[in-house]
């Protein structure tokens, strides 16, 4: 009874992890390299940025919105980090503050516009994305700057096969999973995603809630930017762009619906893992690079089809 209930409720999450396990098993069997410690720690590193940015996207989607600015925010923050952290000692601190202030305020603008205008979130964030991208390119239209090596050393330090970066990821997922299921604000985000009007009736301040979703999302994009730039060692105005589609894919694969009000942070972790795993698996299994697009595309489509089956 209890079991059944849980499996009912967390069906999406369970199934994505079930699939992950099967997937990993198959590859471990067919490609021994796949299960070597080195490759495992590679995968853990490769998961990091996507997993982080996907958290924010999930929360926005649960809140009934969507954020198309994550990609450009990541790029922007890499550039900021690379330039601000140049100066010794204080550099890192200044960089962090700058990143969070800027990404936070971008999130605020997104949320504010969604609250105050009738423009659908997709269009708002689309327009915002192109504005930010433009500004970013104006600021610096080619990769460059210097991110202190120390960051890289810390974030990607490996304890055995476990890089710190994945611990950061797990930490964030822990926090936000708890936040979404236990905190008032978390509840309200689900509620608003469910039905704005009834949430208002229940006395929820939907503006505040929506605002917070977009801010969280932008901040997570900022974090991703830092993690990414410290891996690359420099900032690049285009480096983040691919993460938009990937983040949405991860969330959808993780079983969060597009209509809002439902979904689970932990599902997204599974989704992100799967997406990252795919490209590693392609390399490991030595598939011609030309296949990677096909696999990515069909992954997204299949996931969405399954979601819509699940609804019925």
């Amino acid at each position: 009874m209890k079991i059944k209930e849980i499996s009912e409720r967390y069906r999406a999450v369970i199934s994505i992890y079930a699939f992950l396990i099967i997937f990993v098993l198959i590859f471990s069997i067919f490609f021994p390299v796949f299960r070597t410690p080195l490759n495992i720690s590679n995968i853990l590193i490769q998961i990091t940025p996507l997993a982080l940015v996907a958290i924010g996207q999930t929360i926005v989607l649960i809140g009934g919105g969507i954020d198309l600015t994550v990609g450009v925010v990541i790029s922007l923050t890499t550039v900021i980090t690379a330039n601000a952290m140049g100066l010794p000692f204080v550099g890192i601190l200044v960089g962090l503050i700058l990143v969070f202030v800027i990404s936070g305020s971008i999130g605020f603008i997104n949320g504010f516009l969604c609250n105050e205008t009738n423009i659908p979130p997709i269009i708002i964030t689309l327009a915002m994305a192109s504005i930010i991208k433009g500004l970013n390119l104006l600021y610096r239209n080619e990769p460059g700057g210097q991110v202190p090596k120390i960051l890289n050393k810390i974030i990607y330090f490996k304890m055995g096969i476990i890089p710190i970066s994945i611990l950061i990821v797990l930490l964030f997922y822990g926090i936000f999973a708890y936040f979404m299921s236990r905190s008032k604000l978390g509840q309200y985000i689900y509620a608003v995603g469910n039905d704005e009007k009834y949430s208002r009736m229940a006395g929820i301040n939907i503006k505040k809630v929506r605002l917070s979703t977009y801010i969280i999302c932008a901040l997570m994009a900022g974090v991703t930017g830092i993690v990414l730039s410290s891996r690359v060692g420099s900032g690049s105005p285009l480096i983040g762009d691919n993460y938009l589609l990937d983040s949405i894919t991860a969330v959808i694969v993780g079983g969060t619906g597009f209509s809002g009000g439902s979904g689970f942070i932990l599902g997204t972790l599974g989704g992100a893992t799967l997406v990252a795993l795919m490209s590693n698996a392609l390399n490991i299994s030595n598939v011609s690079p030309f296949y990677q697009y096909i696999v990515k595309g069909s992954l997204l489509l299949i996931a969405m089809i399954l979601n819509s089956i699940r609804k019925k």
């Binding site: 009738n118 269009i123 689309l126 192109s130 504005i131 433009g134 239209n141 009007k197 595309g297 489509l301």
Partner: protein, 328 residues
């Protein structure tokens, strides 16, 4: 019963200021006018007929795509795979014809058919499988890129046959580009379809309220699939012109088409809520977007400024169209 929201919204509409009323129906014209005016003052080069023709020529591809995109957004759909489609079509044209004039006709037929199929595929995903078209078409986009790569293994074969080449770069009385003529012809045809025919009425009805459309006796799914197929064909035509314009198969390019086309349609006054909007608006929207980049290059400003300006114009115009949200 979402009464309170509708009611308040109606209130807003009724109490719209006269300026806003005018702007929300003629905003796009005002914008293009201002754009031409300013650019004319800043650098007369921009507005000389030769350059204007150039601009129209560069608009024709995205313009034709925008016709289809308008139909889709009118009926609460969208297609972000247009860029990948155009690239794929171009490769197909070269691959099938191998530049052989004799194969021109069959090539065009095949390409149009392929366009229709891709459109239908998008349609089935959105209409039958009930998948958010935005994401669905993103998936299709990635798929198409993959298919293009697999089909060519990176080395796109063949070249564009003369006739199709002419569609891209040919001109009547070496002045009026053929592509522009095709584009404007299609635009006129489809505006007539929308304003004068049952099909048009159904499009607006479905966009305005799909459920009601069904109850009013419209075959909603069938119509929407048809629309997807049609826009697929339109994209294929755009692909032919593109292929003619380039004269060679390439695996890259066109990546800016999806967002630019959507942007054009939106600033042209077609709302995501569906059921409102006209072809002419989208066409002017498309011109604005191309005009912007041309103007900015001419005055020596980079692509960055175009992107920024585009974003701002979208926000501004759409805000004027749909206005502030009111909660009480």
């Amino acid at each position: 019963m979402n009464s309170i929201y509708n009611k308040t919204e109606i209130k807003r509409n009724n109490t719209k200021g006269v300026f806003v009323k005018i702007f929300s129906s003629y905003g796009i014209y005002i914008v293009i006018f201002l754009l031409v005016l300013i650019s004319g003052i800043v650098s007369p080069k921009t507005v000389d007929p030769k350059n204007l023709i150039e601009i129209l020529k560069n608009t024709s591809v995205i313009g034709i795509i925008c016709i289809g995109q308008t139909l889709l957004i009118l009926t609460r759909g969208i297609d972000l795979s247009v860029g990948a489609q155009v690239v794929f079509i171009n490769i197909l044209v070269a691959g099938i014809s191998l530049g052989d004039p004799k194969k021109t006709f069959i090539t065009i037929l095949i390409v149009l058919a392929v366009g229709a199929i891709i459109g239908l595929f998008n349609g089935v995903i959105a209409v039958k499988l009930k998948i958010e078209p935005l994401l669905g078409s993103l998936g299709v986009m990635t798929l198409l890129q993959g298919i293009s790569f697999l089909y060519t293994k990176g080395f796109a074969k063949g070249s564009t046959p003369p006739f199709i080449r002419a569609m891209g770069i040919g001109r009547f009385f070496n002045f009026l580009p053929i592509s522009v003529v095709i584009w404007i012809f299609l635009a006129i045809v489809f505006s007539l379809l929308l304003s004068r025919t049952i099909f048009g009425r159904y499009v607006y009805a479905i966009g305005s309220n799909p459920k009601a459309a069904g109850i009013a006796g419209i075959k909603v799914d069938r119509t929407r699939l048809l629309i997807y197929a049609v826009s697929g064909v339109l994209t294929a035509i755009a692909g032919l012109i593109w292929s003619g314009f380039l004269g060679t198969p390439t695996l890259t390019g066109g990546q800016y088409l999806p967002l630019d086309s959507v942007a054009a349609v939106i600033i042209g006054g077609t709302t995501f809520a569906g059921g409102k909007g006209r072809i002419i608006g989208s066409m002017i929207g498309a011109v604005i977007i191309v005009y912007l980049s041309n103007f900015l290059t001419i005055i020596g400003l980079g692509i960055e400024w175009k992107i920024i300006a585009q974003g701002l114009i979208i926000l501004l115009l759409v805000f004027i169209y749909v206005g502030r949200k009111s909660y009480k």
